[in-house]
């Protein structure tokens, strides 16, 4: 066995040993608060077992291993439905950025250790009501206030802000220059006076995203994580941190084998649906697409193992997997006809077709919409021109609202 295979096998064993305490059955029927509490205990167990901060520096509480070990562990972990969703953003982006750009190292170390053990959660305050894709067009502003800053404005779609202790935020500090040049990056205490978090109930019934209001929120200058006016570069660095995470060719919806099982059970025109050409074609097409993504992902992993940089084709996973999950989920409901009506708001998108269907649009929008991803492929990979941008180079305060 290679070292990595040994590592994987140990991770597999550990994950399996966690199923009784933290698996799907243990989570069944829990409210969000209870599930979060369970999640904090799970995160602590990960930390104690050496599976938190796998590729982070040892002096900050990490394991000092490679990216490949991290995604190897995640691929095992993903099989079990553990309550880790609350820490995905926190440990995925804000905390790594804090490690990279935080100036007070003692403070950084304390925060990182607490985040790794599930005691503290960080959120990422980027999107605003006036735009998400157009990040540099944000309007929340910070003005100098004595030796520090005063923040006013509103963020939106902030995941887990209601449970967050801290957040990283990009704000406008100079409206008189071109939009991406007037931004600065800070961290904020989410419990500070003037911060109001209001959960947004989504179409599927859950409320993991929030509106966050800032009314004269005062912070000292040591919260600043970029040069004044240099916030956009740090924001881009945040978004580039995790280019290769453990991906899922099912688009975080049900596995295709569940659809095949359904098609064998259900009858269409008096015959098993699996014999119907329309259904067979969809199964074949979905399998082919998912098998392609799986091969791309395996190749990326092999390249990382060989010390190479994976190709840009990894960018396809989210685009291709989620939209096909959406269509396949519709088809699964079609197959059940009126039997598909009973709806459980708390069912998992991973094994329930209605839940997968109703939550699929979020997957096609959050973290880069389909259209944004297509632009990225066209511009960054294929070298096609940027879209026409009438606000390019125009001082922010002269862009027509």
């Amino acid at each position: 066995m290679t070292d990595l295979e040994t590592y994987r096998a140990k991770a597999e064993t550990w994950c399996e040993s966690m199923v009784p305490a933290f698996g799907k059955a243990a989570r069944e029927g829990l409210g969000v608060e209870e599930d979060l509490a369970l999640g904090r205990r799970y995160q602590k167990a990960k930390f104690d077992a050496g599976y938190a901060g796998i590729n982070w520096p040892v002096d900050l509480g990490g394991q000092g291993l490679g990216h490949i070990e991290k995604i190897t562990f995640e691929a095992e972990e993903m099989k079990h439905g553990f309550p880790n969703v609350y820490f995905g953003i926190s440990l995925g982006m804000p905390v790594p950025v804090l490690m990279q750009f935080g100036s007070d190292r003692a403070f950084v170390k304390e925060r990182v250790l607490k985040a790794l053990q599930g005691e503290e959660i960080w959120c990422q305050l980027f999107s605003e009501p006036s735009g998400g894709t157009d990040l540099a067009g944000l309007r929340t502003r910070a003005e100098t206030d004595g030796n520090g800053w005063k923040i006013n404005g509103q963020k939106v779609w902030t995941s887990w802000a209601q449970y967050s202790d801290y957040g990283v935020i990009v704000v406008r500090t100079d409206p008189t220059v071109a939009k991406h040049k007037g931004l600065t990056y800070f961290w904020v205490d989410m419990k500070a006076p003037g911060v109001t978090v209001r959960p947004i109930k989504l179409a599927g019934g859950d409320s993991h995203v929030n509106e966050v209001f800032f009314d004269d929120v005062k912070i000292s200058d040591d919260h600043r994580m970029s040069p004044v006016g240099g916030g956009f570069a740090v924001a881009l660095a945040t978004l580039m941190i995790e280019r290769y995470v453990a991906t899922d060719s099912a688009g975080f919806g049900p596995h295709l084998s569940l659809f095949v099982d359904l098609a064998k059970e259900v009858k269409l025109n008096g015959r098993p649906a699996i014999e119907d050409g329309r259904i067979r074609q969809q199964i074949a097409r979905n399998h082919t697409m998912r098998a392609g993504l799986d091969s791309i992902n395996r190749r990326a992993r092999l390249m990382m193992q060989a010390g190479m940089t994976p190709g840009p084709e990894g960018a396809l996973n989210k685009l291709v997997a989620v939209r096909s999950r959406q269509k396949l989920s519709e088809l699964a409901l079609d197959l059940q006809g009126t039997d598909a009506f009973p709806f459980d708001e708390h069912a998992s998108s991973r094994d329930d077709w209605a839940s997968s269907w109703i939550n699929a649009p979020t997957g096609r929008i959050a973290g880069g919409s389909d259209e944004t991803l297509l632009n990225t492929i066209a511009e960054r990979i294929l070298g096609l021109p940027q879209d026409h941008r009438p606000d390019k180079g125009v001082p922010f305060n002269q862009i027509p609202a």
Binding site: R285, T288, G292, V320, I377, L384
Partner: protein
């Protein structure tokens, strides 16, 4: 199992690309369309000189003992450059059938010639829409074949064919020396495929596989060819994606390159997705030769490559507008080839069924 190409394999890709780009041009290929009965001699000569015909065949019979992965790399380049003859795939299929199911005598007789390229092989399995018909149109009886194998790619020049025949009421796979066969050239939309009906009247034939095992053997040969073809289709799709991208960067409308319009750039980005999925599936399938899930992997490779090439052909022409439909620009060479390759080795309907049978646990 997925693979990373090693240095030797990367050299095969680079060298075959160099050779084909130097030897095959659109200007050579266009006239072939209007002249049934001709293939691109430069292409086939190159294939023989470079040892591509020998690549995936056993060393004991004049081959180079490499496999589908390496042949796939050549096929990918052949797809990019529009191969000028179908023999690379058809001879490979015929040779693999003889290597896997033939006697020592049959191997000694046929494989060295197929490996050197002096002998051309063909596969005659299909009847119209059915790549592996329940009742094959050719009958095998007492060491002779009778009947017509229609629409055989490479059939016009092949020296030997592997024929899927009926023997009493059971299927059989037979080797037929085409010296005794009549050929009727088919004027197709892609004439350099050298498609012919092979007409047999008491032509001597040797049995390779008898009974139901013949069907599984024929499917295996089809799958091997399908993986080679999937690489060729992926190469064609990749070339079209690049042609579309280059055109979108240079052609201007309303004061900007048309590639700045999302209707164009997103279309090309979608092609990128199809090409990369097809490439990943093709590489994976090539690496699965000899494993239990080879047929499943081959089916996925085949389906995604067909979708990629057909879509790229449609969209590349569309992005070009009027100039795209002219004879001179030659995009129709790819349109034609995309459809030809989609029909050879079984249509998407066939491979969808092969795949779903296996996914649903109904596979033979």
């Amino acid at each position: 199992m997925s693979i990373l190409y090693d240095e030797g394999q990367q050299a095969i890709a680079t060298e075959s690309r160099r050779a084909l780009e130097a030897r095959v041009s659109k200007d050579d290929l266009l006239p072939l369309l209007q002249d049934s009965g001709k293939y691109h001699d430069g292409f086939w000569t190159t294939a023989k000189e470079q040892g591509w015909t020998a690549l995936a065949l056993p060393e004991a019979h004049g081959g180079l003992d490499l496999g589908l992965v390496e042949l796939g790399l050549i096929a990918h380049q052949a797809g990019r450059s529009l191969s000028g003859a179908p023999f690379l795939t058809s001879s490979f299929g015929a040779a693999k059938a003889i290597e896997l199911y033939g006697s020592d005598e049959q191997k000694a007789r046929w494989l060295p010639g197929l490996a050197s390229g002096e002998t051309i092989g063909a596969i005659a399995f299909a009847t119209g829409p059915d790549p592996l018909p329940a009742t094959p149109s050719v009958a095998l009886d007492g060491g002779r074949v009778d009947g017509t194998a229609a629409g055989v790619s490479g059939g016009l020049f092949a020296d030997v064919a592997i024929v899927f025949a009926r023997e009493d009421s059971a299927p059989a796979l037979a080797i037929v020396d085409l010296g005794g066969a009549k050929r009727k050239a088919i004027g197709s939309f892609d004439n350099s495929r050298c498609i012919a009906d092979l007409i047999f009247a008491g032509v001597p034939a040797e049995t390779l596989v008898s009974g139901e095992a013949a069907r599984a053997a024929a499917l295996h040969i089809l799958a091997l060819q399908a993986v080679v073809t999937a690489h060729e289709q992926t190469g064609g799709a990749e070339a079209l994606m690049e042609i579309a991208r280059d055109y979108a960067l240079t052609r201007k409308a309303f004061g900007q390159p048309i590639g700045a319009f999302q209707s164009i750039k997103h279309r090309i980005a979608e092609l990128y997705g199809l090409v990369e999925l097809a490439r990943a599936n093709a590489i994976h399938a090539a690496a699965r030769e000899g494993q239990d899930d080879f047929i499943t992997a081959a089916a996925a490779a085949r389906l995604s490559a067909t979708e990629a090439y057909d879509t790229a052909a449609r969209d590349c022409v569309q992005i070009h507008g009027g100039i795209g439909v002219t004879w001179e620009i030659g995009l129709h060479l790819h349109m034609r080839r995309a459809r030809t390759l989609a029909l050879e080795q079984g249509s998407s309907f066939f491979w969808e069924d092969v795949l779903v049978d296996r996914l649903a646990g109904e596979g033979a």
